[in-house]
Symmetry: C2
């Protein structure tokens, strides 16, 4: 029976964890029948790995092929944070059934973990770690670790507590092994360790781990009582997730859309953003409309005015992306805003002169009118300054207002560079109208 | 003496590594005098931490405050990959001097590491790890590990080799501790481990680590001889770096520009991109110019035509950002292109009908001409289909041509949605000209 399943799903070795992860990641290509065979062929422990590593949609499918008892059994092989993740995506009635069937101790932990927001330290932490009293000798500690480690996910770092069970240090397994075995944990543990509270945003946790090269971060409450740990593989997942979000948001997709997202869901994700942009487009359109009299006299204006706004949009996007990324990394300090503002204005002028001169010369030659060239040159300089100032201030202000700058900056930026770009250019044209006709 | 330095740089505790990392990250705010005091106050070991964690510009500064002998001394406390990173950013003559002063064994390793490209597995790997023969018992292994660990960065994973020194398994310290001490390493080691060759791109390595939850990846040559290891903290750094690059590239900044980049350097980074975009803007401008006769008869066209191109650009950017991110994560398979193409065309039509109808109605009301509304509605539908198709195909084709889609997609996309957007709209207007005047 196992062999049939093995052959059909074309997997050489179902005992190799890496192969299992490959299967888990491509479960959406499996038929119901193949999944059924997989569930029966694998031990509960191996199945728990597939279950953990599968995509959300595959997790929802898998639940249907197992009895509640079997699901609970696979849960016993999973870190608690993974159980919570699965419970969060399946049908809520089913999740409650499963929680009720758990052992009481597990049930309490799971319910606690379910209480934290998904994207906070509490939401990504797990509860399999070792805490030991600081008064233990290293020899005693090693015995304890050997005893506890089959049931524990992470043993490379041991959390050291005082008599009141408050964490006051961390000790690496390495230091425990290489030091004199008669020393106590207190003597060798690092007291200046980094920790987080459960409410901290997961992106902040990832930044901290990245900055201080941490492999595991303890999550504690205000009294330094241990609540859980965040392991580096969860940090890596957070970083990958945040990276996806950043790229999509900057492109105007508010929530994570994958290649598999159904058309109707994609529509619901993308349409509202287009609608917001439509409002901006109409604003720009009305700005032009106000100058229709000028354009009707010099129709050439209509073909070159979009150069002014296009270049403003491009230059502004450059500034915005640098500022957004530095905000995300915690590098933007309010006191530096003035310095950055001066820099962006100067850059707007320099880039504006460069782009403006080239454009002005070409326009003069094409339309045989030097004034048209001078006007577009000035307008481009002006709009590139607008772009630099808006590109800096818009994400900075949005961030202060706790609005996500990655998503919302571009819409405000385009409004500024389009409306002001058309306005500057067409105003100048109106002013110099006698020289243009 | 130490106390003076301590006070001046306002740091409570120079023995705490986390404080030192904070100092390292903000060295640019320190005067030469303060850095001088720091260098003299700290032990070589602590100074090596500052040196490693500092920004590139601070590393360059630090080199000036130390004799070659002192620099070499701090190098002895650093993983080899960090030494290579520092040698890569300082003056090349100075780097050669330093390499020549190293012990012969170190010199060979460093020269080898310097031979790998910076953004490959070889470029980010380090050489401090433990390899043991598989025939050793676990008891013997533990003794070896205790003996070697003071000189080794990573001891949580032991690499197991056969008699020919070819790696054939990995064993975790955890498994070595919890198993019967009379078993051999061969008996407990994992034979199905993941490894990479030194030429692999660092982003691929990070994806692999993320997918398989790896904490360390061995780098081997074709004969399975060990060359180095990549540790999880380097993976985290790679991910953070790639994230920054992605965000900046999508915004049209080719190389990493920070807030501290000098104006002239920022200009050199941003101007070429604006110049490329200027070419696109002129293409669009010439498209409009070809229809100046139509516009001169219906000047309203000039104020509403930018709505068509604006919406095309927005919709296309949504598609591009989803495709770029999925290419980076290795999710885009060529065989799925047809399916995705159908989806994007369908989305273009649906979104186009939605946005087109709204725009058409408003335009009809403002200008009192229903035909103008119908034309802009049709043009928007057409341009949103152009946007979907280009948004999918441009990054896919660029990736196949080994051109970075994150940087170059937007320019081709804008060209397509601007030129075709104006063309579709103004052609329709020309066709229906009698109804518009």
């Amino acid at each position: 029976m196992e062999n049939t399943a093995v052959k059909e799903i074309k997997i050489a070795d179902l005992s190799d964890d890496n192969n299992l992860i490959d299967i888990a990641k491509s479960l959406d290509e499996y038929s119901d029948n193949q999944i059924l065979k997989l569930c029966s062929a694998l031990t509960d422990e191996k199945l728990s790995l597939i279950f953990t590593q599968a995509d959300v949609s595959s997790q929802r499918r898998l639940v249907n092929f197992m009895t509640n008892e079997k699901i609970i059994k696979t849960f016993t092989f999973m870190p608690k944070d993974d159980i919570v993740d699965i419970l969060g995506v399946i049908d809520i009635g089913k999740a409650k059934e499963l929680i009720n069937k758990m052992k009481e101790g597990d049930r309490t932990v799971i319910n606690e973990l379910l209480g934290y927001k998904e994207d906070t330290a509490g939401g990504i932490m797990t509860t399999e770690y070792i805490t030991l009293y600081g008064s233990l000798t290293l020899l005693q500690a090693i015995h304890k670790i050997k005893e506890l480690s089959p049931k524990t996910e992470l043993i490379d770092t041991i959390f050291v507590m005082d008599d009141n069970k408050h964490i006051n240090g961390v000790a690496s397994l390495r230091d425990i092994l290489i030091n004199d075995e008669n020393k106590t944990l207190d003597e060798i543990s690092d007291k200046n360790f980094k920790y987080v509270e459960p409410e901290m945003d997961q992106e902040q946790v990832a930044l901290m781990a990245s900055k201080y090269d941490l492999n595991v971060i303890p999550v504690v409450n205000r009294n330094m009582k241990m609540l859980g740990i965040i392991t580096i593989d969860d940090i890596v997942d957070v970083m990958s997730e945040e990276q996806t979000e950043d790229v999509l948001k900057m492109g105007g997709v508010a929530k994570v859309e994958t290649l598999d997202t159904k058309i109707w869901d994609s529509f619901k994700l993308r349409f509202p953003w287009l609608l917001v942009n439509l409002a901006t487009a109409f604003l720009a359109s009305l700005t032009i409309k106000a100058f229709e009299g000028v354009i009707s006299q010099v129709v050439a204006l209509s073909s070159i005015m979009s150069i002014v706004t296009g270049m403003g949009g491009n230059a502004g996007t450059q500034t915005v992306s640098i500022i957004i990324r530095n905000i995300a990394m915690g590098n933007v300090k309010l006191k530096d805003t003035w310095k950055l503002l001066v820099k962006e204005i100067a850059l707007g002028v320099i880039n504006g002169i460069g782009i403006g001169l080239i454009t002005g010369i070409i326009v003069s030659l094409i339309y045989g009118n030097a004034y048209l060239g001078i006007i577009i040159c000035l307008a481009i300089i002006g709009n590139l300054v607008v772009a630099g100032v808006s590109g800096l201030l818009i994400p900075t202000v949005l961030d202060k207002l706790h609005i996500d700058p990655a998503l919302s900056s571009s819409i405000f930026l385009t409004t500024a560079t389009d409306v002001l770009g058309f306005f500057i250019f067409l105003s100048l044209a109106k002013l110099f109208l006698p020289m243009l006709t």
